[in-house]
Structures are given as structure tokens and as C-alpha cells.
């Protein structure tokens, strides 16, 4: 089972929930954490994995052999991302804008474009206290997160309960991360910002046809509109984590919640059970 932990709004406690869930489940399950928030991966701060393997992620970008190029301009015409331009007797490539689709090299009538790998990030693997750990790290200055996310997802394995940390927002990196998961936990906070972004996140997972449930973090801090929204939309509110200086202080020091406050372990074990029920009910009732 793959459980994605997403949030719409950033900083609501995604990392707190993902790591607590993983640490609570690890005694009864084979657990894998996949940190797909490749722009700002944070799970490693809490889980402190020993990284044993690093694999670079490449994007294939064109290189033109200008000796043989006739400057016909085909490559520039077919590139949908303006990543290659022919100006007078020169071909310019803008690697940051290239999606690595391969159109230009394939369609070049002179066959003078080759593709060279350009490193855009790295996938790191290791172990954290019995948890299998995978994270993607986007290289500074690179724009394209999805290829790094896809690489992390390649390590998915049915033997594991996979907890996948997703970047904030609702755009392409979020969709890429959530795609293919069985359930999406949405972590929010009870403020107008939290609600506004939660509604967008719910629309996103609905678009993908994935069941979701909600965790309210810092419960008590704002108003009750998030809880009202859950009731109205019929989305299960699975867990409330109260606003607490103890929890915030543990987090700020990088100490796992379930280590500092072991009483929380049961709540997360129960959370997983609820998720499992929702998923299996849905699988036996797929039209819903």
C-alpha cells in the first residue's frame, strides 16, 4: 500500500505526520519512506538515515554537431519548450528549459543532434532504524522536479507499506508524486490559509481518483471551518494533532514525535488501520 502525505499549503506538518506514521508502523510492517518533496526534502532530518547509495538523475539534453548542421531550423520548430533556437548560423540550447522529450534529435533531418545526460538531481537510498529510506534531491538552480520524483518512485515495491512525502501545492510535482498511490493523507491547519489550500488539494486528489482523509495539525489555533468543511464534503477527518509547544519543540530539534512522546504511537497505528479500511472498502466497491 502506498500512502501519500500531501498538504496544499506548506509548513502544515507533512513531515511530522509522514515520519511519525513510518516510525509507528515499522515494528509491525516493512516500511519504506519516499521523500518526493525533492525541492526541500526534510524527512531525513527527523529519520536520520544512513545513506548507502547515491544515484544521479539525468535529463537528456540535445547537443548539436555544428560542423554538419545545415541550420535548417527543424529542431527549433518542433521544440515545444523553446529550449533550442537557431539564430543565423548558430544553434543555441537552453538546458534548463529542455524537458528531454527527444523530439529534436529524432526529427533532425541531418541526424546531427545527439543527446547528452545532464545531472539535475540525485536519489539517495539508505536505512533508518529498520525503515527503508529513499529521497530525491533536486540540484540547486534546476527547474524540473518531476524526473527526480519519477526516479524515487521507481523504488516502490509491493512488499512495503510506502509512506510518500509530497511537496506543497497542487501543480505538476504534486500530481507526479501522488499518482499511483492508494491513499492520500492531507495535512492542514485550522486557519483560513489552511482551508483555502486544503480545498485545492482535495480537488487535486479527486481529479486523480484517489481517496483521501484529513489530518488537522495545530488543532485549536484558528477556527473550526476546516472541520466543518470535512463534514460538509464527507471527507474523513482522521486525526487531530493539537497545538502544543512540546510537539513544536521536538520538531524544531529534529526529534521524532513518537520518540519524544511515545503515547502518540497508538494514534498513528490506528490511523493506518483506518486508511487500510477505507482503501479496501473502496477496492471492493470500485465504482464509488
Amino acid at each position: 500500500m502506498i500512502i501519500s502525505v500531501a498538504s496544499g499549503k506548506g509548513g502544515t506538518g507533512k513531515t511530522l505526520v509522514a515520519t511519525s506514521l513510518a516510525l509507528s508502523l515499522k515494528d509491525g510492517h516493512k516500511v519504506m519512506v519516499q521523500d518526493c518533496d525533492v525541492e526541500e526534502p526534510n524527512d531525513h532530518i527527523i529519520l536520520k538515515p544512513v545513506i548507502t547509495d547515491r544515484e544521479p538523475v539525468f535529463n537528456l539534453v540535445p547537443r548539436v554537431d555544428e560542423e554538419k548542421c545545415t541550420y535548417c531550423g527543424t529542431c527549433a520548430r518542433v521544440c515545444a519548450f523553446n529550449a533550442i533556437a537557431v539564430i543565423n548560423e548558430h544553434v543555441l540550447v537552453f538546458p534548463q528549459m529542455c524537458h528531454g522529450c527527444g523530439a529534436c534529435s529524432y526529427l533532425c533531418p541531418e541526424k546531427v543532434i545527439t543527446e547528452i545526460p545532464k545531472e539535475i538531481g540525485v536519489v539517495e537510498r539508505g536505512e533508518a532504524d529498520g525503515i527503508s529510506f529513499v529521497q530525491g534531491v533536486l540540484t540547486i538552480g534546476e527547474a524540473m522536479a518531476p524526473p527526480v520524483i519519477r526516479k524515487v518512485k521507481e523504488y516502490s515495491n509491493n512488499d512495503y507499506t510506502i509512506i510518500r512525502d509530497v511537496s506543497p501545492g497542487t501543480s505538476c510535482p504534486v500530481v507526479e508524486s501522488i499518482k499511483g498511490s492508494d491513499f492520500c493523507l492531507l495535512v492542514t491547519e485550522p486557519t483560513p490559509f489552511g482551508l483555502n489550500d486544503l480545498i485545492l488539494a482535495v480537488e487535486t486528489v479527486k481529479e486523480l481518483g484517489i481517496p483521501c482523509g484529513i489530518v488537522i495539525n495545530r488543532a485549536g489555533v484558528g477556527d473550526s471551518k476546516v472541520a466543518d468543511y470535512c463534514v460538509k464534503e464527507g471527507i474523513p477527518l482522521l486525526l487531530n494533532i493539537p497545538l502544543s509547544t512540546d510537539i513544536a519543540s521536538l520538531y524544531s530539534r529534529g526529534i521524532p514525535l513518537v520518540e519524544g512522546m511515545p503515547q502518540w504511537r497508538d494514534s498513528f497505528i490506528k490511523l493506518e488501520k483506518q486508511i487500510k479500511e477505507i482503501v479496501s472498502e473502496r477496492n471492493s466497491n470500485p465504482q464509488r
Binding site: 499549503k9 506548506g10 515545444a80 522529450c101 527527444g102 538552480g141 505538476c172 499518482k179 509547544t245 530539534r253
Partner: protein, 286 residues
């Protein structure tokens, strides 16, 4: 006219509350929300929308099943595995158009995407340009570029001194798009280990693109050790820490009331520190 972009790397550090307060403190400016996939600034500024524009960007492949002879070439060449059983999955298609160029029977056409909307609104603090990326859309970077362009045009017309821009979280495509050509980046962080980690990455991004950065530590008193660590790190990097905002529940209360905190609680320490912060920014850029 000078553009100041507020970034944070990590989400939820208080970026939008800082921008909302600058909306009150800074005179003669245009506001722009570059966090186009989870825009929140409008919730503080109570805008009245004057202009509502469609944003078309990017394309998606569509296969005409009447023309398709099921040769399978497109499925083989699509690097994004977007074509299965001679159908395109729009959520996977990146719109590169490769398939449409190679289809022997011309069964594939590229259709434009309505990626979102952008708005020009009036607020009592000045004009606000904001946007809404459609769910699950790509091209957030391009929409950011669009709202910034609109904001610049308004600023030129009105002879504004500043553009204040609420940036997106992260360090990827929309962040890069919101940084280019800005005068300065103001980075809002918090003293947690993840806050520090993400700050380091966003400082590197600013350096990579040659944009000077300044740091505001929000909730600095929730973990003083970490705050000192941020200060030491910034000093080594040659980045000024220009504000240390204490933790105070008035910040959340202000959000619940839909108001900038400096207006909701003008006497609070938070407000005092935000005022100082703006004086420090002014010192730096003038």
C-alpha cells in the same frame, strides 16, 4: 521601481503574513502573488477583482481514434509514458508534441490548455495581481512570469516605487521564475531544523541567480539555539538577518480575521519588528 520578492524555501514559515504586512507598511507599490498554485495573499487583503483573464499555456496531445491505425509508434517514443492503448493520459502528457510530429497518418493533434486565470484587483493597499493555476496543471513558472509582467506594467503606468511579491515555496521552476530580475529576495525562515535546511538551499538558489538575499527569522524565540545557528550561518554567507519576529498568537488571529497583522495588532511586538524590518530593507536598497 524595485521588485522585492519574499521567499521561504520551506512552506508555512509566515511568508504571506510578512507580505500582507508589507502591503500596509510600504507606500506606492504594486502587490503580486507568485504562489500561483496555493495563493493565500488575497485572504488578507480583501481584494475587489477588476480584471479576470484566462491563461492559456502549453498543449496536450489528442489522438483521433478514427484516423489512428494503431501502429504504436507514438507509445514507443513518448518519454513520459503518456500514451497507453492508443489513448493519451492528459495528466502525464507534457505537451512536447513529439508524437504529433511523427504520426504517419496525422492522427494526433495538439490542443491548447487553459492552465489558469490571472486577476488584477484593487485593495485598499494598492493594486494586487494574483492568479489561480488550474488543478494539476503544469506551467506554474509561466503563470508566475505572466503575473510579474502584469505587475510591472501597472507599476510603470502608476509610477510605483516598489513591487512586493509573495513567492512560491520550494526552489524549482516557479521560484526560479519569480526570482529573475528581482532587486532583492527577502527570505522568511523559522528556527526549526527543516527551516534551516531549506533556508540554506534557497540562499544557494539566490546566489546561483545573482539575487542578493536578506533573512527574516520568524518565531525566532521558539528555539533560540536554532536561531543562533541561522544567524551564524547567515553571517558566514554574508547574508544580513534583518528581522527577528517573536512568536505571538496574534499572527494567527490576524489570519483568522483576514487582516494583515500590523493592522490587526498595531501595538504588538510583531508589528514593531516588521516596521524595523522594512526600514532595514530600505537601507539596503536605497
Amino acid at each position: 521601481m524595485k521588485e522585492i520578492v519574499i521567499l521561504s524555501g520551506k512552506g508555512g514559515t509566515g511568508k504571506t503574513s510578512v507580505v500582507g504586512s508589507l502591503a500596509v507598511l510600504v507606500k506606492n507599490k504594486v502587490l503580486v502573488d507568485c504562489d500561483v498554485d496555493a495563493a493565500d495573499l488575497h485572504l488578507l487583503l480583501n481584494p475587489e477583482t477588476k480584471e479576470d483573464n484566462e491563461f492559456w499555456s502549453g498543449q496536450t496531445a489528442v489522438i483521433d481514434e478514427n484516423k489512428c491505425i494503431q501502429c504504436g509508434l507514438c507509445q514507443d517514443i513518448c518519454r513520459f509514458h503518456a500514451i497507453k492503448n492508443y489513448k493519451v493520459d492528459p495528466l502525464s502528457c507534457e505537451g512536447c508534441g513529439f508524437c504529433s510530429h511523427i504520426c504517419k497518418v496525422e492522427a494526433i493533434t495538439m490542443q491548447d490548455n487553459l492552465s489558469g486565470y490571472w486577476f488584477v484587483s484593487d485593495t485598499k493597499y494598492g493594486p494586487l495581481v494574483h492568479a489561480r493555476l488550474n488543478i494539476a496543471e503544469e506551467n506554474s513558472g509561466k503563470l508566475v512570469a505572466e503575473v510579474r509582467k502584469q505587475a510591472r506594467q501597472i507599476a510603470e503606468k502608476q509610477n510605483s516605487d516598489y513591487i512586493i511579491s509573495d513567492g512560491p515555496p520550494g526552489i524549482g521552476c516557479p521560484v526560479i521564475s519569480s526570482l529573475s530580475g528581482a532587486r532583492i529576495a527577502l527570505l522568511v525562515t523559522e528556527p526549526t531544523l527543516s527551516g534551516i535546511h531549506d533556508l540554506e538551499r534557497v540562499i544557494s538558489v539566490c546566489r546561483h541567480f545573482g539575487i542578493p538575499a536578506m533573512v527574516c527569522i520568524n518565531k525566532y524565540d521558539i528555539n533560540l539555539d536554532n536561531s543562533h545557528q541561522i544567524e551564524n550561518f547567515c553571517q558566514k554567507q554574508g547574508v544580513y538577518v534583518i528581522a527577528r519576529i517573536p512568536f505571538d498568537t496574534v499572527v494567527t488571529e490576524a489570519i483568522v480575521h483576514g487582516m494583515p497583522v500590523v493592522e490587526y495588532s498595531p501595538e504588538s511586538k510583531v508589528t514593531g519588528e516588521l516596521q524595523n524590518m522594512w526600514v532595514n530593507v530600505l537601507d539596503f536598497i536605497t
